[in-house]
Each structure stands twice: as structure tokens, then as C-alpha cells.
């Protein structure tokens, strides 16, 4: 049991270290950057009086150590700064957009996971045949197509040439208040962006499922099951798949960090009102506190997700507990 706790605490320390580094990094980068730090903290839309105010509030005329202490104590109370363009605290602006991003990311993970595991199963079952090769080729091509180009092509084909799906946004305007109509409209808007975001992860899930299955199929417990006369499909689905899926949890978490980039592009192209498109909006308004806030917020979110994945992995894979004890 103690080993388990040591492992957990180690992972928690790593997560906290990441967030702390990001905070320190943003603090010093803003002060190192060319230009007046007060403007960089206030945003370019700020009035001279407001900038003067920020200078006092953040103690910019004081030594760096004092500034850092002021900054850290602000962050600890959940104060990420104030966005002038949205006339609202940065944290509120981000939290307003968060549910939409979670919807997009969540649906994309579910889709790519299901399709990826399915393709991986098929690939492993038909290993070293044409089907296997074809799946491998298609997934690596999809993996190599940049999300922003794929998004453009999908919009061009399925929203402009053959207008099956909307060009962007999250819901039709002038829609009835009926909850079902609204949900249907959101789903309709979700399909193209979700498809765009899913393709990148499809390849990884497919390959990992295939590799895991082929490895598991050589294990003794599978050989035993075969000797006992368990049907081939049952071996694949019940015995091998369970073990092949375990590493996917870790990969899922690691890829959340990578996914952030994909989210920024996908949301921007499809004008999906989430945190990713918010970042690009903030950049174009030169709303520096919002950009900094999103940087800190996403880093913390990804660190938290990694930590949760570690815990989940530990629960589902008893072997890791032994490893943590060492």
C-alpha cells in the first residue's frame, strides 16, 4: 500500500511542477518580452489610466521578487487577470467557453477510440494481409494531413459544394426553444469538427491496438485459451483486447497535450465557440492577459488530465502497483 502512495505522490508532484513552471515561465516571459510589461499585462485595448492602474496593482515599480509574490498570490486566489475586450475576469471568459471544448474533445476521443480500436482489431485479425496493409496506409495518411487543411477540405466539400452540414458555429440561429431540436442542431454542427479532430488520433489508436493485440496473442494465456478450444473471436475480444487496451489510457492522456493544437485549429476553422477559438480571438485583439490565462489554464488542465490518467491506469492495471513500490 505504501508503494502505491509513493507513486501517487510522485505523479502529483510532477503535475504541480508543470503548473508551477508554466506560471513562472509566463511571469518571466512577459517581463522579458520587448515592450512595456504593464501593457502586456493589461492588453493593448487598455487606456493609459488603466495601464497606470495595472502598474500599481502588479507592483511593476517594485523589485522582481515582490512582483512574483504579488503575481503568485493573485493566481492562488484564482485571479488570472482581467480581459478588457470581454470586460470580464479572464477565468470567467475561459470557463464560459470550456463546456463547448469539452464537448468537441470528448466526442472526438470517443469516435477515434471506437473506430481506432475497431480498425486495430480488424488489422490484428488479418495481420500481414492486404486488409492490414490498407488500414495501415489509410491511417498514416490521415495522421499526416494537418487538421486545418482537412477542416478546409471538409467545409469545401460537405458545407459548400454539397451543403449537408453547416459551415460553422454551434447551433442554428432562430431556432425553436424545443430542447430536442437544439440538441439535434448542436450534433449537426458537431459532426465536421469532430471528424476533423478525430482523424489525427485514429492512427495512434489503430496502431497501438494492433501492436498490443499481436503481442498479447503470443502470450501464454492466449495459447492456453487456444488449447482449451476457446473460439478465435472470443480469444481476441475477451482475452487479448483487455490487455491491448491498457496502454491506450496513457497515450490518451499524453495526447491531450497534442490535441490542444488540433483543438485550436478545428475550433477556429469551424467557428466553434470553445477555448481554442478564444485563444485566436485573444491573439487578434492583442488581449495579452487572456492569452496568458489560456496558456496557464490549458497547461493546468492537461497536467490534471495526465494525473487522472495515472490514477485510472493504476486502478485498472494491478501490475503498476508493484512497479510503484520500487
Amino acid at each position: 500500500m505504501t508503494g502505491l502512495w509513493v507513486y501517487l505522490i510522485k505523479r502529483a508532484v510532477t503535475a504541480v511542477a508543470v503548473v508551477f513552471t508554466v506560471v513562472i515561465l509566463s511571469f518571466f516571459l512577459v517581463r522579458l518580452a520587448p515592450g512595456d510589461p504593464a501593457t502586456l499585462i493589461a492588453g493593448e485595448a487598455a487606456s493609459p489610466e488603466y495601464i497606470q492602474n495595472v502598474r500599481k496593482l502588479y507592483g511593476l515599480d517594485k523589485p522582481v521578487v515582490d512582483q512574483l509574490i504579488i503575481y503568485l498570490s493573485m493566481l492562488l486566489t484564482g485571479n488570472l487577470g482581467y480581459s478588457i475586450t470581454f470586460s470580464s475576469p479572464v477565468l470567467n471568459v475561459i470557463l464560459d467557453r470550456l463546456p463547448q471544448t469539452i464537448l468537441l474533445v470528448g466526442s472526438s476521443i470517443v469516435v477515434s477510440f471506437m473506430v481506432g480500436v475497431g480498425l486495430g482489431l480488424l488489422s490484428a485479425k488479418k495481420a500481414y494481409t492486404i486488409v492490414d496493409g490498407l488500414i495501415n496506409a489509410v491511417t498514416i495518411i490521415l495522421y499526416s494531413i494537418p487538421a486545418f487543411w482537412l477542416g478546409l477540405v471538409l467545409i469545401f466539400v460537405f458545407a459548400l459544394q454539397y451543403p449537408v452540414f453547416p459551415i460553422g458555429g454551434m447551433m442554428d440561429i432562430n431556432i425553436s426553444d424545443d430542447i430536442l431540436t437544439r440538441v439535434a442542431s448542436v450534433l449537426h454542427h458537431l459532426i465536421l469538427p469532430s471528424a476533423t479532430l478525430s482523424t489525427f488520433f485514429l492512427a495512434t489508436y489503430t496502431r497501438m491496438t494492433r501492436a498490443g493485440l499481436i503481442e498479447a496473442l503470443g502470450m501464454n494465456y492466449v495459447v492456453l485459451a487456444q488449447a482449451k478450444g476457446v473460439p478465435e473471436n472470443k480469444i481476441l475480444l475477451k482475452h487479448a483486447l483487455k490487455n491491448a487496451l491498457l496502454p491506450l489510457i496513457t497515450v490518451l492522456a499524453i495526447q491531450l497535450g497534442l490535441m490542444v493544437g488540433g483543438v485550436v485549429f478545428t475550433e477556429t476553422i469551424f467557428s466553434w465557440p470553445g477555448v481554442g477559438s478564444l485563444l485566436i480571438q485573444a491573439v487578434s485583439y492583442r488581449d495579452y492577459p487572456l492569452v496568458t490565462g489560456i496558456f496557464i489554464f490549458t497547461s493546468a488542465a492537461v497536467a490534471l488530465a495526465n494525473f487522472i490518467a495515472d490514477i485510472v491506469y493504476m486502478i485498472v492495471d494491478p501490475r503498476i502497483r508493484g512497479e510503484g513500490a520500487r
Partner: protein, 282 residues
């Protein structure tokens, strides 16, 4: 150098699957090197033809809304992509060696500290960090190159460290040490050659990442305004798809995707050549 190319050709002849990525990459590299001779117009010049002309013998890939020739832009875009890929990988390999080598060689506390730093950088969502840095420090192409190197060295450092760990106890290194060779000599003339080859797949993957990042940044309108890049051409074209202009997104996107695909396949193929028995899990 001649030896290297002969060795390369013989590997190509043996490992047929490496031919596909090489065939993908040759046109891109050729247009990067010979852009002046291939491009028909100055890519930055507007109004070389009527705006939004479809592809024709005069404008092979059509023109954009400013009347610039997309073919010339795509050709010069290869140069930017290759410039970014090669310079950023050079920087990140240097950083990766500077961190990974001492970490693996001296181990202990140095290793612990350096690898924690690498872990932390790997855990930061790199694309948001990149945008944050560009917003603060500007979008000059060389700044973008440095930023890409800054976020991509940790991956290389970890692989280099692992290689150093596996090589440092091998007989030829022990022999050199027994003969009284110093740390630096052992690092450079004994271990280095045995570490370069195994990191090649990671290098090609990082190069494709670099191309993706630069074009992505330009696509968002945050790139260097004085440099033609595929991402920037796509950014311009993304506004004209609503009037049915397909050529603006098709050609630069194809070049971009083929370069990334070529580098990814090359990385895959190289790791098969280097570790034929390794089961790939990525």
C-alpha cells in the same frame, strides 16, 4: 560523403518501402533548392494575373484574390518549409545532445535534474506555448524556428540519453576508458557515431512536426509576413472557398500533406531498418 551516399543507395535497394517516402520528398526538396528556376513569377507580387483565375497553362495552379500566382507560391513555400525543418532540427539536435548526453553519461543528480526539466517541457501543451511566445516575441521566421526547437528538444534528449545509457557500458567504450581516454574523447569519438543512427527516425518525425507548426502558425495569420509559406497561402485561400475557389486550398495543402506524410513514412521505414525486431507501438 561519397561513402555515405553509396551506403544510402544500397540501403534503399534493400529496403523497398523506403522508396515511397523518398519519392514523396524529392519533388519538395527539388522545388526548395531550385525555386528560382521553377517558379514562373515572383511569389510575393500581386496582380501578376486576374484575381481568382482557375488553373491554366499560364497560371498552373491558378491565382488568389490578390492575383498572385499560386504555383510560384507553392514552389517557394517548399523552400520555407525545408528551411524551417532543417534549421529547427539542427538546433533541437544540438540542444538534445547538450542535455541528453551528459544526463546519460554522468547519470546521478545531473540526469535526474535534466530529465525532470525535459519531462516538464514535454507536459506543456506545445502549441499554446508556441502561440504565447509568438505573441510576446514577434513572428520573424527565425524566431519561429527557435521556438520550434525550444519545444521539440526534450523528445530527442530522452532518446539520446537512452542511447548513451545503452552504449556507455559496451566493450569498445570500456576499452577506450581502459586505454586512458578522457570523458570528452569517449563521448565524441567513441559514443557519438553509435548514437546518431538510432535517433534518425525521431529526427524525421520532429522535422514533420516543425513543418506542421510553421504552416499552422502562418495559417492562423501569425506567421512571418515577409515569407511565403504553404500555411500562409492556405490562410489567403481559406477566405475564397466561399466563392467556390478550390485550387487555392488544394495545391498548397497537397504539398504540405505530402511532405509531412513523406517524413512520417521515412521515420517509420528508418526505424524498421534500424530496429527490425522492434514491435512498433506508436
Amino acid at each position: 560523403m561519397a561513402n555515405v551516399s553509396v551506403a544510402f543507395l544500397s540501403v534503399l535497394r534493400r529496403e523497398k518501402y523506403l522508396l515511397i517516402p523518398v519519392l514523396f520528398l524529392i519533388p519538395v526538396i527539388a522545388s526548395a533548392v531550385f525555386a528560382e528556376f521553377i517558379a514562373l513569377y515572383n511569389p510575393l507580387r500581386t496582380r501578376v494575373g486576374p484575381p481568382l483565375t482557375p488553373p491554366s497553362p499560364t497560371y498552373l495552379m491558378g491565382t488568389d484574390q490578390a492575383g498572385s500566382d499560386i504555383f510560384s507560391q507553392v514552389i517557394y513555400g517548399s523552400r520555407t518549409a525545408m528551411y524551417v525543418a532543417f534549421t529547427s532540427i539542427l538546433l533541437s539536435v544540438i540542444l538534445g545532445f547538450a542535455v541528453g548526453f551528459p544526463a546519460g553519461y554522468f547519470r546521478g543528480i545531473i540526469d535526474e535534474v535534466l530529465m525532470r526539466v525535459a519531462d516538464v517541457i514535454l507536459s506543456i501543451p506545445s502549441f499554446v506555448l508556441i502561440i504565447f511566445l509568438i505573441v510576446l516575441f514577434g513572428s520573424n521566421i527565425n524566431i519561429i524556428v527557435m521556438i520550434i526547437a525550444l519545444v521539440s528538444w526534450p523528445t530527442l534528449a530522452r532518446i539520446i540519453r537512452a542511447q548513451v545509457l545503452s552504449v556507455r557500458e559496451r566493450e569498445f567504450v570500456l576499452a577506450a576508458r581502459a586505454l586512458g581516454a578522457g570523458s570528452l574523447r569517449i563521448m565524441f569519438s567513441e559514443m557519438l557515431p553509435n548514437i546518431i543512427i538510432p535517433i534518425l527516425p525521431a529526427i524525421t518525425l520532429q522535422m514533420s512536426f516543425a513543418i506542421l507548426v510553421e504552416s499552422g502558425v502562418s495559417f492562423l495569420g501569425l506567421g512571418d509576413q515577409n515569407v511565403i509559406s504553404w500555411g500562409r497561402v492556405l490562410w489567403m485561400a481559406s477566405r475564397s472557398i466561399y466563392v467556390g475557389v478550390w485550387w487555392g486550398i488544394l495545391f498548397p495543402g497537397l504539398f504540405l500533406s505530402i511532405s509531412i506524410l513523406g517524413l512520417n513514412l521515412l521515420g517509420d521505414g528508418l526505424s524498421k531498418v534500424i530496429n527490425p525486431r522492434q514491435i512498433r507501438k506508436g
